[in-house]
């Protein structure tokens, strides 16, 4: 959970390198609240990408959240604004925390989910803001800092492995990913994810009742 502070700082520092005022980093953390997508936005903003490309890239990158949502449909039983905020804040980090930890003692589990989500966003906002302010005050050499995103994905991947401990989803994704990179390189994300999901569905059909 604390990981959000340094990661947010890395985002903030890279973001202010673009020349925008620091508070836009805070605003992105407040409204977008998606770590990987915000890192990707730095590349898109640098390239002055069109809004359609921004939309498609964000949808592709965040399409994994559809499946996060699917697997917590049963858990999120809060109503109204509480539920809206839980859904809004269903990031990778929130998802991995609520699916791998349990509320302690008598604590209401819906409140527990809310607290995790709100704390995550608070840490993220602090990180984004600190990074952007620090970066605008000091002249930092940020070359290579974007590796933080790769490292984050690697850590999340290992956490998935510790939870699932079955090889096939990882193997399917390796092949889909390599296929996407070889054929499409920059636009590999959408095609690789689509391929992997189709193969997973085929796998499900062939294996019959397993679920």
């Amino acid at each position: 959970m604390f990981g959000y502070v340094p990661l947010g700082m890395a985002f903030g520092i890279l973001f202010q390198d673009l020349g925008y005022p620091w508070y836009f980093a805070t605003l992105m953390g407040l409204f977008v609240f998606a770590g990987a997508a915000q890192f990707m936005a730095i590349g898109l903003l640098t390239a002055q990408a069109g809004l359609l490309e921004v939309a498609v890239s964000t949808l592709a990158l965040n399409s994994r959240h559809i499946f996060f949502g699917l697997s917590v449909l049963g858990r999120y039983r809060a109503r109204g604004l509480k539920k809206a905020y839980l859904i809004f804040g269903l990031t990778d980090e929130t998802y991995s925390l609520i699916t791998s930890t349990e509320p302690r003692g008598q604590q209401n589990e819906q409140d527990y989910y809310l607290i995790i989500t709100a704390l995550n966003q608070t840490y993220w906002l602090v990180g984004c803001t600190l990074g952007a302010v620090t970066g605008s005050l000091a002249d930092l050499n940020t070359a290579g800092m974007d590796f933080a995103l790769t490292a984050l994905f690697l850590v999340l991947l290992i956490e998935q492995w510790k939870k699932i401990r079955e090889l096939f989803p990882f193997a399917i994704a390796m092949f889909s990913g390599m296929f996407g990179i070889v054929l499409f390189r920059e636009q590999m994300l959408l095609i690789a994810i689509a391929t992997a999901i189709v193969v997973l569905i085929l796998q499900w059909r062939m294996s019959g009742t397993r679920a």
């Binding site: 604390f2 964000t58 559809i66 269903l90 999901i197």
Partner: protein
């Protein structure tokens, strides 16, 4: 569009697109939560997507020219090893990134 208007438009589009992906299952699939296929996808899609995201973030590596992705692969190895060993997310990410920044900025591998 000037710089600030463009940035605000990008933030708006990203906010909408991100929320869309998060709200979709709750809006459309609420009554199908127990469908075996959705349970299957709910379990196995996250690991598959994480694998793809790792490849995606490493897609820029050129394996045909020096340094053949050595900085990225070494930094990844450091991150993975530390995480398997100590399982401290912050330490794993920080160490891998610090190593990568050092290598890129000093050019020791290039």
């Amino acid at each position: 569009m000037n710089g600030t208007t463009y940035l605000i438009a990008v933030i708006g589009v990203m906010t909408a697109a991100t929320f869309f992906t998060r709200v979709l299952p709750f809006a459309l699939l609420r009554n199908m939560a127990d469908h075996p296929l959705l349970l299957f996808l709910g379990r196995y899609t996250p690991p598959a997507i994480m694998t793809i995201l790792v490849l995606y973030s490493l897609r820029g590596i050129d394996l045909t020219a020096a340094p053949f992705g050595a900085p990225e692969l070494t930094a990844s190895l450091i991150t993975v090893t530390l995480h398997l060993w100590l399982r401290n997310t912050l330490l794993s990410i920080f160490s891998g990134t610090a190593f990568y920044m050092f290598v890129v900025q000093t050019g020791v591998f290039i």
